[in-house]
């Protein structure tokens, strides 16, 4: 019998058309798959999707909410992408965000009367250091003994979230907060100014500036180049005399610091206090955003807005009785299709008979 099978043939150069088309098709296919699930569970996918679209992008309020969600996504995605460049799988952005938020909160709680020019920079520095140190905890055993950083960064997410819970349910709880797990509200000097009268805050500029800086560093600096080399071949990097251990520590610290900044921006720019559950999983979504953006800092800015919209859309459908988890499901499905599609940028899919004869392209 002449059985047909698929065969992958490596392309000499990645297809430039595919690089752009595949993320697009992936999103569409994920929506299609999600639509099938919605139909199977008795929902109308068109209603659900149009609701998600209208609520996230169809009004001024929706758009600003989308941007509000996009800011922490931009920062955490930039953070993890820096580590991913070096093939350091920092899955701990969520915990680093919480630790950054926690450390930034400490300043206005302890010194509420600081002037704004000390308060905000102080919160930024504390938030970044805390996020960075939290990541460094996993980078040290990774650098010395090659302890799997995926597991350690992930485990520390749970620890960080529980630590913040401990604080807001315990020693940091606002005595006047009628028993809610929240700290006292920050003084005005500890609040990042908003843009106009919207909830979008100046943390957006942190993300924009960092994206530009990272893009320049990756493209033009020697250090950026060496991170790339270490990421693609540790052996080659060692022969070239690059200090791998030092770069593991440095990159993980910076990666965590950027996510720590995201935490600072959340408590200072949006909430104005520390509370239970400050992030709906930005640190995990960041992994998808970073991968979908091919670790390109400028692409991350755009993709973050799309995923911010998805987040807002998820909340929107909840009102209609559709679980918000549908947004998480779509995120996972998008990543599946992107991964599968990536093959097509590097390989040609061919249909061959079992004897190995080529039938079609």
């Amino acid at each position: 019998m002449n059985r047909l099978t698929f065969k992958l043939e490596k392309r000499l150069t990645p297809s430039p058309v595919m690089v752009f088309i595949i993320p697009l098709i992936s999103v569409l296919l994920a929506l299609l798959l999600g639509g099938i699930f919605l139909v199977l569970t008795g929902e109308n996918p068109l209603t659900v999707y149009s609701l998600m679209l209208v609520d996230s992008l169809g009004s001024k309020y929706g758009l600003t909410e989308t941007m509000v969600k996009a800011i922490p996504l931009m920062l955490t995605s930039l953070g993890v992408s820096l580590a991913f460049k070096m093939k350091l799988w920092n899955i701990g952005a969520e915990g680093q965000l919480y630790m950054g938020a926690m450390a930034a909160t400490w300043l206005p709680l302890t010194f509420p009367a600081l002037p704004v020019y000390l308060m905000l920079p102080g919160m930024i520095i504390l938030g970044m250091i805390a996020g960075g140190l939290w990541a460094l905890l996993t980078a040290i055993p990774r650098a010395i003994w090659k302890v799997n950083e995926i597991i350690t960064t992930l485990m520390l997410n749970y620890v960080a979230i529980l630590w913040v819970d401990f604080l807001v349910y315990g020693p940091w709880r606002d005595p006047e907060g009628s028993n809610f797990p929240i700290t006292a509200s920050f003084a005005e000097a500890a609040r990042l100014p908003g843009l106009g009268d919207s909830r979008v805050h100046t943390g957006l500029f942190f993300a924009l500036a960092l994206a530009v800086i990272l893009a320049i560093v990756f493209k033009y600096s020697r250090w950026g180049y060496s991170i790339n080399v270490i990421g693609s071949s540790e052996r080659a990097a060692r022969y070239a005399g690059m200090n791998i251990k030092r770069n593991i520590l440095l990159v993980m610290f910076l990666s965590g610091a950027i996510s720590g900044l995201a935490g600072m921006a959340e408590v200072s720019g949006i909430i104005g206090k520390l509370q239970h559950g400050i992030s709906p999983g930005y640190g995990y979504t960041a992994i998808i955003v970073a991968w979908l953006s091919k670790l390109n800092p400028l692409a991350i800015l755009i993709v973050s807005v799309l995923f911010g919209a998805l987040q807002v859309g998820g909340y929107a459908v909840q009102v209609e009785g559709v679980p918000a988890a549908v947004a998480t499901m779509l995120q996972g499905a998008i990543l599946f299709f992107v991964l599968g599609g990536e093959v097509l940028t590097n390989y040609r899919l061919k249909l061959v008979s079992q004897k190995g004869e080529e039938l079609s392209k």
């Binding site: 350690t152 349910y169 995120q331």
Partner: protein, 310 residues
Amino acid sequence: MSIQEFLIPLLAASVIAGTPILYAALGELITERAGIINLGVEGIMLIGAVSGFMMAVTTGSPWLGLLASMLAGGAVALIHAFLTITLRANQVVSGLALTIFGTGLSGYLGKAYIGIPVEKPFGVIPLGPLADIPYIGPIFFQHDALVYISYVLVVIIWYFMFRTRPGLNLRALGENPAAMDALGLNVFYLRYIYVMAGGALGGIGGAYLSLAYAPSWLENMTAGRGWIAVALVIFALWNPWRALMGAYLFGGIDALGFRLQVLGYQISPFFLQMLPYLFTVIILVFVVARQKGRLTAPGALGLSYDREER
């Protein structure tokens, strides 16, 4: 308080709390022995938990629930297998995608089942005369059927891996797939089988939570146990017996926190909840450091197999 009153119940609770991790770890163990890392265990467990629960609630049979969780776990593992084996996608990212997808899908499907009781969860069946052995009986033989099955499973997997021909092939599959290919074994087909079998076991791990341990459905009820299972495989040095010991150790930490609270120790529950995660990190660092970076991981673990690049 005497030893009988504290230690025996603690050890018995360790076995119960360790069982879901054990199932998931055994699944990941055979997956990794075949050369594929699956970081989607957390998502697989969640899907196993919710599908098992839905089936058990609908049909009234925990065993049908168990079957559903195995099928669902195997089915989502198939996605990982297709992406990583056939399409040679990055195994780390594919696993993460699976975890995110599983979290979302289980949350979506399970929404209507939150707070619903399951009519017949897996109940305690004292195992005949074994249950009456002093100390040993209460610790190991006064549990539900899934605990007993896990004992047998450890023996079977160990025997299969180290005493049979296909088991030898499984180990070689993760060490040197090219050699297996040269011997005429279908590397791709075998890897698919083991990844899906691993997924089915992960599904059971989830179903244990929703049908025996809790028994109920809660969003994200695995709470990182899938990741602990992945860590456990490293701790176990890819050996099922060590996986068993490790699972009960982690189960013990889990159970200890709860018991200290009951005894009235003034420790914040948040710190007690942190224990399993901190313990995982510390143990992992300790085990890997002791091996001085020369872990006995399967040689081809995490690498896609491409016939043309042999």
